[in-house]
Amino acid sequence: MADGLTRNQMAWRLGRDIAEGSYVNLGVGIPLLVLDHAPAGREIIFHSENGVLGMKPKDEADGIRPDDLTNAGKQPVSLVPGAAMFHHADSFIMIRGGHLDIAVLGAYQVAENGDLANWRLSGAPTAPAVGGAMDLAAGARNVWAICEHNGRDGAPKIVRECTLPLTGPRSVNRIYTDLAIIDVTPDGLVVREKIEDLSLEGLQARTAAPLSLANDWRPLEAPEL
């Protein structure tokens, strides 16, 4: 089986696709790794739903008490010059009102029509917990899902129809996995990049929805991290 990207490499690769000047929210889990691997020298403004615009990885020298400034995963962060603070209702104006260019979200399942399931495992005995996932799925201009191509049991996360409870219908535009970058289009799932030594057939075998390969597809690559 072809070696895929690590989580850090997936986050690094996604970061290359964020245009300068973009306003981007990062969900908890793999998405938050994008903050650590954002392209140097490119101005990207990261939003956190708890009232932060312009966060960067924690710089211990910033003199801010760790509890006073966190990301959505409650981990300490720092601010870039140009950052702004606001309250939760204003933060979700940004999210729900379509002001974010991109929301990067983790995924349990993504369907070929862009349906996203990332908040609840059916039949789990633990209490459900949604956080801001549904607001982001419904509100951001672009939703990029980032997840391993297959679960630990090998089950494909990219499916014809989600069997898990939805976070939002027709939300996802693009999927970043350890094996491929896949666009959700009106004509179905289109592979933009894939691990070079994995054939389309090999990728298809690990995917539960039909894929087509873009004519201008490129190899999915990332440096050692």
């Binding site: 300068e20 000047g21 306003y23 101005e43 403004i45 939003h47 615009l53 312009g54 601010l79 010059p81 140009g82 950052a83 702004a84 603070m85 606001f86 204003d90 979700f92 104006i93 940004m94 999210i95 729900r96 009102g97 379509g98 002001h99 974010l100 419904a138 509100g139």
Partner: protein
């Protein structure tokens, strides 16, 4: 490098088209983005819809847009003030469409447009002329009116200070409608009295975060470059 700063009011209003819905900040002349409005008037646009608190006064700003025949419809709470000559002439001639909206409902409709909320209910106007023809609904025995979001193609606003990302702060009651209009449009353009270097504004006291702002032009008070 992100740089939302424009060199002139004329450059800042490039691309606005006939028929645009334009949200305008200000309350009376306080906080009204005169230079941007004058620059829009200078383009000779037609059929604009202006959403603002008032109908302008004098020969600049909304007053100039009205006098210039640029405006098809005015959505506001208070069109008549001393000096609102342009509006009053158009109104008398039935040459302008007027939608009167209670002041708080304008603010909330524009905020809703910016917040992804298509409609909401308010008690304001229920049982009055301004509620007539609107959908009503009772909650806990009281009558409410359904109001729809207003979304602008463009917002033109005035602030005191900006950085190159478009973070804004305001001065005293010149804040008024400006931060609200900033949230409600596809393209938000701010005239500011002073641009400061990035990092020169305290993150805790920025009123309009940069995400709501697309273009900034520095026009010190009393200096027009429109």
């Amino acid at each position: 490098m992100i740089d939302k700063q424009c060199k002139s009011a004329a450059e800042a209003v490039e691309g606005i088209e006939d028929g645009a819905v334009i949200l305008v900040g200000g309350f009376g002349q306080t906080g009204e983005p005169m230079d941007l409005l004058d620059a829009i008037a200078a383009k000779g646009l037609k059929d604009l819809t202006i959403v603002a608190n008032g109908g302008g006064s004098g020969e600049h700003g909304i007053g100039r847009l009205l006098a210039g025949g640029c405006v098809r419809k005015l959505v506001c709470s208070f069109p008549r003030v001393p000096g609102s000559v342009a509006f009053e002439e158009l109104y008398e001639q039935r040459a302008i469409e007027l939608e009167i909206v209670p002041q708080g409902t304008i603010a909330e409709r524009v905020r809703a447009g910016g917040a992804g909320i298509p409609a909401f209910y308010v008690p304001t106007g229920a049982g009055t002329e301004l509620g007539e023809g609107k959908e009503h609904r009772e909650f806990e025995g009281r009558a409410f009116v359904m109001e729809h979001a207003i979304k602008g193609d463009v917002a033109v606003i005035k602030a005191e200070r900006a950085d190159r990302w478009g973070n804004l702060s305001y001065r005293l009651s010149a804040r008024n409608f400006n931060p609200v209009m900033a949230m409600g449009a596809e393209l938000t353009i701010a005239q500011v009295e002073e641009c400061v270097p990035l990092g020169g504004m305290d993150p805790e006291t920025i009123v309009t975060p940069s995400i709501f702002v697309d273009r900034v032009v520095e026009i010190p008070d009393g200096v027009s470059n429109g």
